[in-house]
């Protein structure tokens, strides 16, 4: 029974990867067009410094969006990632400023604190929405408030600062002009890509998004797979918190307001279907780059804040319309 399903998913996999190449090519072309446009119409867009800036600026959103891809692939959504990031940053900020630790221990402690906080929030989201089969939209909306309140409570609404120098250096380190924090994000993308394409777990996440009942009837523990997807999303929120702290050298309890929407936008622009079962983390990478290029290029071009917001919104709507046609094409 299981072997049969695996063989089937193998076939599905080949079909999906061919299609995903086509999908990603479309997004890639859109990105190229944007880059070309900004290169022609602005003076500084295609400079080494600016590219470094864009990579730094998309890092947090990309990390959150990688986790979000897992949740959206199973047909869920996680609205709590921005708040969970702030909560994780505040807990880690408290940990890293504890007296009596050397810089190395303090940083290690902060990394553990941030990722554990993220993981626990993710487990909460996953267990509650999967066990009672409740819409993750509502559960994670609850978590959005729980985590934000917890962040404010733990920090007493104060900005935490004065972290070890080594931590700050990690946040601004470069390798050949590429920010180290971006390389961290890229590694996460690679790991996620491998897991989603080459492990049974990953393939079954697609399966759950397409037809949960079929995966359940095939004897797989759907409950734990769903919990795992939300846990991964919480984990990436913890990693994002570390990057936030290293980059800005503070922990703010009001950080990350609205970040969940940017992460969802990156996933959707990247061609992952909101109804689950279809999409790729490489698309998410391209989606995050598109959002970052837009935010950067529109400022370089001198467009006002309000126009910038409108155009970003239009791009999201456009991406969803595109997804509608992609779905139709796939159904044929």
């Amino acid at each position: 029974m299981t072997t049969q399903t695996l063989a089937e998913t193998g076939q599905v996999k080949r079909a999906i990867s061919l299609r995903s190449v086509l999908n990603n090519a479309g997004i890639g072309l859109a990105l190229l067009a944007l880059i070309l446009f900004f290169s022609v119409f602005t003076e500084h867009f295609l400079t080494a410094n600016n590219i470094t800036n864009i990579l730094t600026q998309i890092t947090i959103n990309l990390i959150l969006a990688v986790g979000m891809t897992f949740v959206i692939l199973i047909g869920g959504i996680d609205l709590s990632v921005g708040s969970v990031m702030a909560f994780a940053a505040v807990v880690a900020g408290k940990a890293i400023t504890l007296p009596g630790f050397g810089p190395a221990e303090a940083i290690a402690l902060a990394v553990v604190a941030a990722t554990m906080t993220g993981v626990l929030c993710g487990v909460f989201n996953g267990v509650i929405s999967a066990y009672w089969a409740l819409p993750s939209f509502i559960i994670t909306l609850g978590m959005l408030n729980i985590a934000r309140g917890a962040a404010l409570q733990v920090s007493d609404a104060q900005t935490i600062y004065a972290f070890p120098i080594a931590f700050e250096e990690f946040g601004s380190a470069m390798i050949y002009g590429v920010p180290v924090v971006f390389i961290v994000a890229l590694l996460l993308v690679l790991v996620a890509w491998f897991v989603l394409n080459y492990t049974v777990f990953g393939r079954l996440l697609y399966g759950i998004g397409n037809n949960e009942e079929a995966v359940r009837l095939a004897g797989h523990p759907v409950f734990w797979y769903k919990v795992a997807a939300f846990t991964i999303c919480g984990f990436t929120a913890g990693i994002a918190a570390i990057v936030y702290m290293a980059r800005l050298n503070i922990s703010s309890p009001i950080a990350g307001i609205g970040f969940e929407l940017n992460a969802i936008a990156a996933v959707i622009i990247g061609g992952t279907s909101l109804s689950g079962g279809r999409g790729s983390v490489i698309g998410t990478l391209l989606g995050a780059i598109i959002i970052g290029v837009l935010a950067n290029g529109l400022i370089l071009i001198g467009l006002s804040d309000f126009m910038r917001q409108m155009i970003t919104g239009i791009v999201i709507v456009f991406a969803v319309i595109l997804d509608h046609y992609r779905a139709k094409y796939t159904a044929k």
Binding site: T56, A157, I299
Partner: protein
């Protein structure tokens, strides 16, 4: 149904609380704050509580709100205070127009109302026939202090940008206008002005992009210190130490930055004392003192390394 019951329970709970407060002969002051998620207001609240303990001759009922734009809950708070029959309401309005009507109702009920932190809109006051003094800092004047410090250093033609607060928020507007006053007075060259919604990470990204578009920037005016921190970090990663930054609020995190010169100046409006001072003024009126008039300006101070 269940919800209704819970709501009813909450209301009667509140009424009981009020009942115990009334039992004492001390005057009761209702304090209405803005978002306690903002450390500025959080500190102010702590200052007010300490003040109440120190004076000990009044009862303090304090409420905050969830976020900067949640003025619905402020209106509800005013109405609850009227029902509870407090002696004075001390309020930092989240919206300078929406709050006029409920406050008028409170004044009609014989409650002493003191408006602090953000002034109510003049037009809206006139329309309702409300005469109400304002106790608070001059945000515009404060921003001009910081802007002037920058203008003096840069001199005529200095190229500057402004990082604004939330579009539409009154203090954000006042601070932007203050910065623009400095720009006009010192004949600075304003290259760009953008919002970063009071937030560090956004200010970091937005300012990096502004710096790419205008590599010749010489000075930055940030409407609060959280955003100034984001600007300072952006300058560090761009390897630029030739650009001057001023902020606003004097939060603890910028202390080291001002000391070592990464920031030129910030403005302290003594937020911790602000609510406490407004309560003092309200109690004077409650105890038979004269009505407040016009604008009672509270202290502001430029903070620099020297």
């Amino acid at each position: 149904m269940k919800l209704l019951k819970i709501a009813a329970g909450a209301v009667s709970g509140l009424a009981m609380l009020a009942g115990t407060a009334m039992a004492d002969d001390k005057p009761v002051v209702g304090l209405i704050m803005k978002s306690l998620a903002n450390e500025f207001f959080q500190n102010m609240m702590v200052g007010a509580e300490a003040h109440q303990e120190k004076r000990g001759d009044y009862e303090l009922l304090a409420v905050g709100m969830q976020n900067e734009t949640d003025f619905e809950s402020q209106i509800n708070a005013v109405e609850n205070f009227i029902t509870q029959g407090v002696d004075a309401i001390v309020v930092a309005p989240a919206d300078s127009r929406a709050m006029v009507r409920p406050l008028k109702k409170a004044m009609d009920a014989g409650i002493v109302v003191v408006n602090f932190d953000v002034a109510l809109d003049e037009e809206a006051k006139k329309q309702r026939g409300v005469e109400l003094a304002f106790v608070g800092p001059d945000n515009r004047g404060g921003a001009k202090l910081a802007g002037d410090a920058l203008g003096k250093k840069l001199g005529e033609g200095g190229k500057v940008v402004i990082i604004e607060g939330n579009p539409g928020a009154d203090n954000a507007t006042q601070r932007r206008l203050g910065f623009e006053d400095s720009v006009a007075e010192y004949k600075l060259d304003l290259l760009d002005s953008r919002t970063a919604h009071w937030e560090t990470e956004e200010a970091n990204s937005v300012f990096s992009n502004m710096l790419t578009a205008h590599p010749d920037i010489q000075g930055v005016m940030a409407a609060n210190d959280s955003m100034a921190i984001g600007v300072v970090k952006a300058l560090e990663s761009a390897g630029r130490d030739d650009i001057l930054v001023v902020g606003f609020d004097n939060i603890p995190a910028v202390g080291p930055m001002i000391e070592d010169g990464r920031m030129l100046a910030t403005v302290d409006q003594f937020g911790t004392d602000m609510a406490a001072n407004a309560i003092d003024l309200a109690l004077e009126v409650v105890n038979g003192g004269p009505e407040l008039e016009g604008w009672v300006k509270t202290p502001i101070e430029l903070v620099t390394a020297d």
